[in-house]
């Protein structure tokens, strides 16, 4: 049997974006189109009336099987700025606990005349499964599935890098931390390699890296000092407390000592390097406050651009060009 590319499901027959499920296998032209469209939406947020009518009359359902106030809120703001009607559902608390299957939940919500689902789920591939089963006019946007993908986060990170660095072709980018459990890291790696970034590095202890990670086109480092040398962009990942229980790490203190980003460690990077973090941060675990709040940090602009990027994705999948 031959593997079907996951990206086929995301594109229409004529090659336009229909769903956004993963950045793995998505062509460069689509990524660039999203970033360019997001650029045109940045100014919307700066106006007095922060709305455009592109999704007027459309119903966007934020279906979160896993809690996330931050991501859900940015999707909600993005949909409202596009004039869509937004329904927020925290499914965790209702039907799933009553044993309803994921597909039944989705069928029920479809019956409520949804036009778009923004889905977060704890299992990898959940958004794919939904996309495979929804009616043809419904669009699915993955807001994070298990450890697999968080494509809008990956895109907003690319938007931020492009904003500060102009273009990807001369960049060294380091991703630091728990790559193994990170959907953000996977989306970042796929986006960076597709956009032509010549050197993507991952820096982590072996216990926090997938075994075949180099097969994804990245250079592997275990020591922060070596990995940060001369990089233009440092992308930090959040460390979950569970990693200490699973015997992957001895302590948060030891992690901070070896992989925490301090001003001293940051000196190994280029002087004009930017520092990013998808949030929420564990200050004093993966990042020092002096770096998080320092002059090289672009962590808050990331959040702002996240809205423009999500507006771009929503309008593009819906076929509503600005």
């Amino acid at each position: 049997m031959t593997a079907k590319m996951t990206s086929n499901l995301q594109l229409t027959a004529d090659g336009r974006l229909r769903h956004l499920l993963t950045l793995d296998g998505l062509p460069k032209r689509i990524l660039t189109e999203i970033l360019d469209t997001a650029q045109s939406f940045v100014s919307v947020g700066e106006r007095d009336v922060k709305k455009v009518p592109l999704l007027r009359g459309k119903a966007v359902f934020n279906v979160f099987f896993e809690n996330s106030t931050r991501t859900r809120t940015t999707f909600e703001i993005a949909a409202k700025r596009l004039s869509a009607d937004v329904v927020n559902l925290n499914v965790n608390a209702s039907s799933q606990s009553k044993g309803e299957t994921l597909l039944d939940t989705v069928s029920n919500l479809s019956a409520m005349l949804a036009d778009m689902f923004v889905v977060r789920h704890s299992a990898a591939g959940a958004a794919h499964l939904i996309a495979r089963h929804v009616a043809p006019h419904i669009h699915v946007i993955n807001a994070g599935d298990g450890r697999s993908a968080h494509p809008t986060q990956g895109l907003l990170d690319m938007f931020t890098i492009r904003h500060y660095k102009g273009d990807f072709h001369n960049l060294r980018v380091a991703i630091v931390g728990d790559v193994l459990h990170s959907r953000v890291a996977r989306s970042q790696i796929h986006a960076l390699t597709t956009l032509g970034c010549p050197e993507v590095r991952v820096i982590a202890p072996r216990t926090l890296l997938p075994r075949d990670v180099s097969g994804m086109g990245v250079h592997v480092f275990h020591r922060l000092e070596e990995g940060l040398k001369d990089v233009d962009v440092v992308m930090m990942l959040r460390l979950q407390n569970e990693r200490m229980q699973g015997a992957r790490l001895p302590s948060a203190g030891e992690y901070y000592k070896h992989w925490g980003l301090t001003p001293e460690k940051l000196k190994y990077a280029r002087p004009d390097a930017i520092v990013m973090h998808p949030g929420p941060m564990n200050r004093g675990v993966e990042i020092d406050s002096a770096v998080a709040d320092g002059g090289q940090s672009v962590i808050l602009p990331q959040v702002t651009y996240g809205i423009a990027v999500r507006m771009a994705v929503m309008s593009l999948v819906a076929g509503a060009n600005p």
Binding site: M5, T101, A126, D145, R211, D212, M216
Partner: protein, 425 residues
């Protein structure tokens, strides 16, 4: 009833026979090959011109889902499916609800199976009470009730001392122990091979050492206890190499592989297809190729269907949450034939892995075509094409990675104990 199967290409891997000739059957036995016994008048004549007549398939792992899981599938449907797949003898693993850990359950299962048409059913008893890995089952009693071997199915056996004693105890009765090697700690939470696809997709992974560490333990305990051990459903090249080495050293170990693992790999999980969520996980192309090679060499003795009917409700879920397993009873023959064709093997060599060899490991009187032997036969068209679909599968389990695919190799008749048990309509 007396039966004559005429003009078929009779293949018997046990004797190397491959010849067009007639087969004569009476009173549940083969009574003539080529020439009919004197005074033979067949009540049923089957024209097998262009068809292959071989021993009925012997499947070392086929779940009937009884007792306890009848809402998914049951004896009647799954035995019909097996028969339609040319299977005439099957071993069913103890992972039922409750598990097959008491003689009464075995007797009931055997009684139910005998009361309906279909293959001969050989239960594999639970090695430990409730498959919990804590207390031994009454293996002596269970054997008398009809268990041919003892296994943990896919339930973990965490306590190595329990495994050690279970093997020692089984060895006292000279009873075989069938084990699928998997370290429960290394496999914990995992659903996919620890390779490039899991890295890309972010699927929780099961590393190869989960299999090899457990296999090494089993092989060491086997040497120590003298237990007769069969290794079920290998998945990795490293484990295959260990079995090859153990066999070279003269250890009387045997092993099998599930038919899906002969063809599929981690690449087939790249689109999160829950039908490719199997136990053990589909591994790399290198692992798969090593399995195919070892199968051709005979290092891997048998191919089983690992038939596992799964309800759509629990299958159509995100990959890691989907119930593992695939329906296989009706795919065992065509997928084995496909392997044989691709490996350039003769039908004698190919069919050996699903007839004589598994029958010998199971210790049952089956898997060969011989005058005086049991009349358990499969008559199939090696060129007969069919499409796998919910409609074409008789099993209630419609869960297959091959849905929509074309298969070559179609069973026309299945004869069990001298009776025509299945006929293609």
């Amino acid at each position: 009833m007396k039966m004559a199967i005429r003009n078929g290409r009779v293949i018997d891997p046990a004797s190397g026979l491959d010849q067009v000739q007639d087969v004569f059957i009476a009173a549940g036995r083969v009574v003539g090959l080529g020439t009919a016994p004197a005074e033979f008048h067949a009540g049923l004549e089957i024209d097998a011109l262009g068809l292959v007549v071989c021993p009925g398939l012997v499947d070392m792992s086929l779940r009937l889902r009884e007792p306890g899981l009848e809402y998914v599938a049951g004896l009647e449907s799954e035995m019909q499916a097996a028969s339609a797949g040319g299977i005439t003898s099957l071993a069913c693993p103890p992972d039922t609800d409750p598990p097959l850990d008491e003689p009464g359950l075995i007797e009931m299962l055997k009684f139910r199976a005998r009361s309906m048409p279909g293959p001969r059913v050989y239960p594999v008893g639970a090695l430990t009470h409730q498959l919990k890995g804590e207390r031994l089952t009454e293996m002596g009693e269970l054997h008398e009730a009809g268990c041919i071997a003892f296994s943990q199915a896919d339930a973990p056996l965490i306590d190595t001392a329990v495994l050690f004693h279970a093997m020692e105890y089984a060895a006292s009765f000279d009873l075989p122990v069938w084990l699928r090697p998997e370290d429960p700690f290394l496999a914990r939470g995992g659903v996919a091979h620890d390779g490039l696809v899991a890295a890309r997709l972010g699927l929780p992974a099961i590393p190869v050492p989960a299999e090899t560490v457990a296999l090494q333990t089993i092989l060491l305990l086997m040497r120590q206890t003298g237990a007769r051990v069969h290794i079920s459903r290998l998945s990795s090249r490293a484990a295959v190499d260990m079995v090859r080495q153990a066999k070279l050293e003269g250890l009387p170990v045997t092993c099998d592989v599930a038919v899906h693992h002969v063809h599929l790999s981690e690449m087939d999980t790249a689109d999160f297809n829950p039908h490719c969520h199997l136990v053990p996980p589909l591994r790399s192309l290198r692992d798969r190729d090593a399995i195919r090679q070892a199968l051709a060499e005979g290092v891997i003795d048998a191919i089983c269907s690992d038939h596992a009917p799964v309800d759509e409700d629990v299958k159509e879920r995100p990959f890691q949450e989907a119930e593992p397993g695939a329906t296989g009873a009706e795919l065992l023959l065509p997928l084995t034939l496909r392997w044989g064709r691709e490996a350039g093997l003769s039908l004698v060599q190919t069919l050996d892995r699903v007839t004589q060899r598994p029958a010998r490991i199971m210790g049952v009187d089956a898997g060969f075509v011989r005058v005086g032997g049991p009349a358990d036969l499969c008559v199939f068209d090696p060129e007969g094409g069919w499409q796998v679909s919910a409609e074409s599968l008789r099993s209630l389990g419609k869960n297959s990675p091959y849905l929509g695919h074309e298969m070559l190799g179609r069973v026309h008749y299945t004869v069990i104990d001298g009776h025509l048990d299945y006929r293609r309509t």
